[in-house]
C-alpha cells in the first residue's frame, strides 16, 4: 500500500482510511458520488461486509502503513444488515479508541460515524469534516511505522 503523499514543500494532505460497511455506509459513499457531493480524494475507502468485521488490528494496520486518520462507518445502530453487528463494533471501537488515547495518540485521528445508504450528504459532510480535523492535527508520527513513510527521492 502506498503511503501518505506529502512532502515538505507541498501542502499537507492527510491520508485517511475509511472502513465502510457494505450495506449502509458504502452505499452512502456511492450516493454521495452519484449525487456529485464531493469528499476529499485523500479518503481511501475500504469496503467491509459489516462494521463488525473491522478488527482492531485493521485500524492499527492502517496507521502502520501511513494513515493520518482512520474512520469507521457503519449502519445506524438498529439498522445493521446482520441485526446486531454494529453494536459489537461500537463497543470494540470505543475501547480501542480509548486505549489509543491512553497511549497518547491524538484522539481526533480516530472516529466512528453511522451513515445510512440514504445519507450521501452526511457521508460527504463527515469526510470533509474528518479530513479537516486530521489536516489540522498534521502528520501522524506517533502511531505509524516510520519505515512506511514515503521516501523523498
Amino acid at each position: 500500500m502506498q503511503v501518505s503523499e506529502n512532502t515538505e514543500n507541498k501542502e499537507f494532505k492527510p491520508l485517511i482510511v475509511a472502513f465502510c460497511c457494505n450495506w449502509c455506509s458504502y452505499a452512502g459513499a456511492d450516493l454521495a458520488g452519484t449525487s456529485r457531493l464531493s469528499y476529499p480524494a485523500e479518503v481511501k475507502i475500504i469496503r467491509v461486509p459489516c462494521s463488525c468485521r473491522v478488527n482492531p488490528m485493521f485500524i492499527l494496520k492502517a496507521f502502520e502503513k501511513g494513515a493520518d486518520g482512520v474512520i469507521m462507518c457503519g449502519c445506524h445502530p438498529g439498522d445493521c444488515h446482520y441485526s446486531t453487528g454494529n453494536y459489537y463494533a461500537r463497543r470494540r471501537m470505543t475501547l480501542l479508541f480509548s486505549m489509543l488515547d491512553y497511549l497518547g495518540i491524538d484522539r481526533a485521528r480516530t472516529r466512528v460515524e453511522w451513515v445510512s445508504a440514504a445519507e450521501g450528504q452526511k457521508f460527504s459532510l463527515v469526510m470533509n469534516d474528518f479530513a479537516k480535523t486530521v489536516t489540522e492535527l498534521g502528520e501522524n508520527i506517533k502511531l505509524g511505522d516510520l519505515r512506511c513513510k514515503k521516501q523523498q527521492d
Binding site: 482492531p56 459489537y88 461500537r90 463497543r91 486505549m99 497518547g104 466512528v112 519505515r147
Partner: protein, 329 residues
C-alpha cells in the same frame, strides 16, 4: 505459610494415596527460596518437593488446559490461590478446561512477594528469605538484611481482589478478607488519564521501548489461550519476531491487551513475568476500568458462564465519541 504448607502437603498425600487424584499441580522448591517453579507431582515421593511459600506467585490455572487434555484417568489436583480461581473460572467459561477433571484445593494467601522488588531495594546476593509475617528476614552473601513485607508485595497483591475462593473443592487455611480499605487498583490508570496526551505518550514510549518481544506476557497469560496466536501466524501480516520500529511494540501490546479485554481477570501475571518490568497490567486495567465505567462493573472469572462485555452489548451503549468527552487530551 509454613503451617499452610504443612497442611497442604498432608492433604495432597492423602488425596494421592486414596486415589482421588492422580496428579498434583503445585510449586516445587528451588535453590534460593524465591525461585519456585510450577510443577506436577505424580507420587508421594515426588510430592516431597512440593512447597507453598511467599514466592508462589505463579498462577497455575493455565497449565490445566494442557493437563486436562492429557489426562486419561482420575483427576488432577490444582492448588489455587484466591486470585487464581478467577482465572480458573474464566477458563471454564471459555470451555478450555474440564471441571470434572480437576480437584481444586484453594490455598490461603497472605499476598505473594516479588523478589525483584527486594532486589530493587539494593539488597544483593539473596540466598534466603524468611517471612515473619510483618517483616522479611533476608540472608545474603553479604550478611543479613530486613525489609517490610508490605514493601515487597507483588504488584498484583497490592490491591488484592479478594481472599475468597471463586472455585474450590476444598479450602486449606483461608485468610480472612482484609478489613482495611484496599488500595485502588485503578489509581495509576487514573493518574495516567489525568496527564496530557504528550505525557502519556512519553510514558508509554519509554516503557514499551524496553520490550524485547520475548512473549512471556502472552505465554503466561491464562486468558491468552489461542491454539495459534495471531503474532505467530505468518499469514496474519503482523507476525514479526522482533520490534524493529516502535510501532511494532505498540501493535503487539495493544492487541495483546485487546485480545484479553473483558476476559482478563487482572491476575497480574503479565507484569510479574516481564523481564523488563513493563507495567503491562496498566494496559489491561485501562480496559477493565473503561468497561466498568461504560458498560457496568464486570469482573471476569467472578462466576462461571458470565458473558464477556465485548461479546455483549446494549442498545444504548455509549458512542465511541465518548472517548473525546473523558479525561485529558
Amino acid at each position: 505459610m509454613q503451617k499452610t504448607a504443612g497442611l497442604i502437603k498432608k492433604r495432597v498425600l492423602e488425596l494421592l494415596a486414596d486415589g482421588t487424584v492422580t496428579k498434583v499441580l503445585g510449586w516445587k522448591e528451588g535453590d534460593f527460596i524465591y525461585d519456585v517453579t510450577p510443577a506436577s507431582f505424580l507420587s508421594a515421593q515426588e510430592a516431597d518437593g512440593l512447597v507453598y511459600s511467599s514466592f508462589c506467585g505463579a498462577n497455575l490455572s493455565k497449565y490445566l488446559i494442557s493437563e486436562c487434555k492429557a489426562l486419561t484417568e482420575g483427576k488432577i489436583l490444582a492448588l489455587l490461590k484466591p486470585c487464581d480461581t478467577y482465572s480458573f473460572n474464566q477458563l471454564l467459561t471459555e470451555h478450555r478446561i474440564d471441571r470434572d477433571k480437576v480437584y481444586v484445593i484453594g490455598v490461603g494467601c497472605k499476598g505473594m512477594l516479588d523478589i525483584e522488588k527486594i532486589k530493587a531495594m539494593g539488597i544483593k546476593g539473596i540466598t534466603k528469605v524468611i517471612d515473619n509475617g510483618k517483616e522479611l528476614d533476608i540472608k545474603t552473601i553479604y550478611g543479613s538484611k530486613t525489609c517490610k513485607r508490605e514493601d515487597a508485595l507483588l504488584e498484583k497483591c497490592l490491591c488484592c481482589k479478594s481472599k475468597n475462593f471463586k472455585a474450590f473443592d476444598e479450602i486449606i487455611d483461608p485468610e480472612p478478607e482484609t478489613k482495611e480499605e484496599k488500595a485502588d487498583r485503578f489509581a495509576k490508570v487514573s493518574e495516567l488519564e489525568a496527564m496530557t496526551a504528550e505525557e502519556r505518550y512519553a510514558f508509554w514510549q519509554e516503557q514499551l521501548s524496553k520490550c524485547i518481544r520475548c512473549n512471556a506476557c502472552r505465554n503466561v497469560c491464562p486468558a491468552c489461550s489461542c491454539m495459534k496466536c495471531v503474532f505467530d501466524n505468518p499469514v496474519s501480516g503482523v507476525s514479526s519476531k522482533a520490534n524493529t520500529d516502535s510501532f511494532e511494540e505498540k501493535m503487539f501490546h495493544i492487541i495483546r491487551a485487546f485480545h484479553v479485554a473483558g476476559r482478563c481477570t487482572d491476575c497480574g501475571e503479565c507484569s510479574r513475568v516481564c523481564p523488563q518490568n513493563i507495567p503491562l497490567h496498566l494496559l489491561n486495567r485501562k480496559f477493565i476500568k473503561d468497561i466498568n465505567e461504560l458498560y457496568g462493573e464486570y469482573q471476569a472469572g467472578e462466576e462461571v458462564g458470565s458473558r464477556a462485555p465485548l461479546a455483549d452489548f446494549t442498545f444504548d451503549d455509549a458512542e465511541p465519541s465518548v472517548v473525546n468527552e473523558r479525561g485529558n487530551s
